[in-house]
């Protein structure tokens, strides 16, 4: 096994371990009550000021179990922000441009790792259609009774919910058509 493979295998293991535990660092986006249970009427454990760092664990509905310096409890998902914010949006286009400039050579290293198969502008451009692989996809079509059994197994119940109206787009003018 090459050092690269070992490194890769190691990182996959790490990835699995971190998601099994699913602990993620997050910050509160506003002053928020830490609750003893995952519901709004539960007892207050503490009030966490905006910007408090917490480690999130299990999710239950719209709530995360968290650990903070002020104790353990539950926070609404909506009160938390994960990660560093805005850099993703601004870097996306630049990356695409870079890719277009570097062309296929930009993905040489990545495609050299077996099983990685990046899907990006360069690999899309260089790809041939694969009707045989598509035929394998199309060969799988679980019949109605299998789908019903699948839902029944976990007591999944159909609920009637209408699509909500989308919020009005913000003041920034968009030329794109709004669907709905």
């Amino acid at each position: 096994m090459t050092p690269l493979r070992i490194l890769r295998a190691g990182s996959v293991l790490l990835l699995c371990a971190s998601f099994a535990a699913s602990a993620q660092n997050a910050r509160t986006v506003a002053d928020t009550e830490l609750k003893a249970e995952p519901n709004r009427s539960a007892a207050k454990v503490a009030t966490l000021p905006a910007g408090t760092s917490v480690d999130s664990g299990e999710r239950r509905g719209g709530w995360y179990a968290v650990t903070s310096d002020q104790g353990k409890g539950w926070l609404p998902m909506s009160s938390l922000s994960f990660g560093s914010g805005e850099k993703q949006g601004s870097s996306g286009l630049g990356k695409l441009v870079n890719l277009a400039n570097t062309g296929k050579s930009g993905s040489t290293v990545a495609t050299g790792v077996r099983g990685h198969k990046p899907i990006n502008a360069a690999t899309l451009q260089g790809a041939s259609a694969d009707p045989e692989a598509l035929a394998r996809v199309e060969a799988i079509a679980p019949p109605e009774e299998v789908v019903k059994r699948f839902a029944k197994q976990e007591k999944l119940r159909t609920t009637q919910i209408e699509y909500p109206a989308p919020p009005a787009p913000k003041s920034e003018v968009s030329t794109d058509e709004v669907k709905f």
Binding site: V12, G89, A133, E138, A141, P164
Partner: protein, 284 residues
């Protein structure tokens, strides 16, 4: 040779991967192109269901050409069964839906017209439970329902595409050019992405579809926060971040609607058990 048999022969040659019956349907429906559109507001709606399917097959074949489906029948059966359960709660339950996990470590998901939905192994491995997988599939299902890619391909290939499709049914049998044009438009589209409003709409309507199917409404938010937590410079996110609004922007758009309209559905199912069994198979 009579023109009808010549036409059918040409179609069969052109669409070697399409069963004859389907190719014949394509012929019949091509005659309707240019007719009255049911919904003039939607670019994609002017295309017949058969042509939508055919365009989707060309696009889907390119995607699996980049990263083939994972060789694990149990996992593929699982995503197809889940996907079909969700699609049954949509406005187009009768499409011939097909789902697949693609063998790529990238974190991403794709749809193609006519009922094709793919997610990468990398995306699957980031998820925690079936409600989050349902959210990802439902987002892609909405792109199919609302013909987002179809409209974009039509816009890209424009009048040329319609003329090319029509030429399949005419005397001029230069169909390979049309098929190349569709595939080329698809490559461009998947590299460039849909417009942002299509993505926001797919988040919102996808959250509803997942809840209609019995899954907790916050799966969509959990997936977006999961993406938000990732390092934006992670190469596995390259195309996702190049083609979608930032996770923060998506959360900002979906959250108010979630809180206002779907908060009552947060106690629906998350289904971690059988999902994690599948994830363990993929992680091997």
């Amino acid at each position: 040779m009579k023109s009808s048999s010549k036409l059918l022969g040409g179609l069969l040659l052109a669409l070697a991967t399409v069963p004859a019956a389907q190719a014949f349907k394509l012929n019949l429906n091509l005659n309707k192109i240019g007719g009255v559109a049911k919904d003039a507001a939607t670019l994609g709606s002017e295309v017949s269901p058969e042509d939508e399917r055919q365009i989707g097959r060309e696009l889907a074949a390119v995607l699996v050409g980049v990263a083939p489906p994972v060789w694990d029948r149990e996992v593929q059966d699982y995503v197809n069964t889940l996907g079909r359960w969700i699609a049954q709660h949509s406005e187009r339950p009768d499409l011939d839906w097909h789902f697949a996990v693609l063998d790529s470590d990238d974190v991403n998901a794709f749809a193609a017209p006519g009922g094709y939905v793919f997610l990468t192994k990398g995306m699957f491995l980031r998820l925690q439970n079936e409600s989050e997988l349902a959210a990802v599939l439902a987002h892609e299902i909405v792109h199919v329902l609302d013909r987002h890619h179809l409209a974009a391909v039509k816009k890209e290939a424009g009048v040329g595409l319609i003329a090319g499709l029509a030429s399949l049914a005419g005397e001029n049998n230069d169909h390979s050019e049309t098929i190349d044009k569709v595939a080329s438009a698809g490559r461009e589209l998947y590299a460039r992405g849909l417009n942002k409003e299509d993505e926001y709409s797919a988040d919102l309507k996808g959250a509803v579809l997942a809840s209609r199917s019995g899954y907790d409404a916050y799966g969509t938010l959990a997936v977006l926060q999961n993406l938000q937590a990732m390092d934006a410079d992670d190469s596995s996110l390259e195309l996702m971040f190049a083609t979608h609004p930032s996770p923060s922007a998506r959360i900002e758009r979906v959250l108010p609607v979630l809180e206002m309209s779907l908060a009552d559905y947060q106690d629906l199912k998350m289904v971690p058990g059988r999902f994690q069994k599948m994830r363990a198979r993929l992680a091997r």
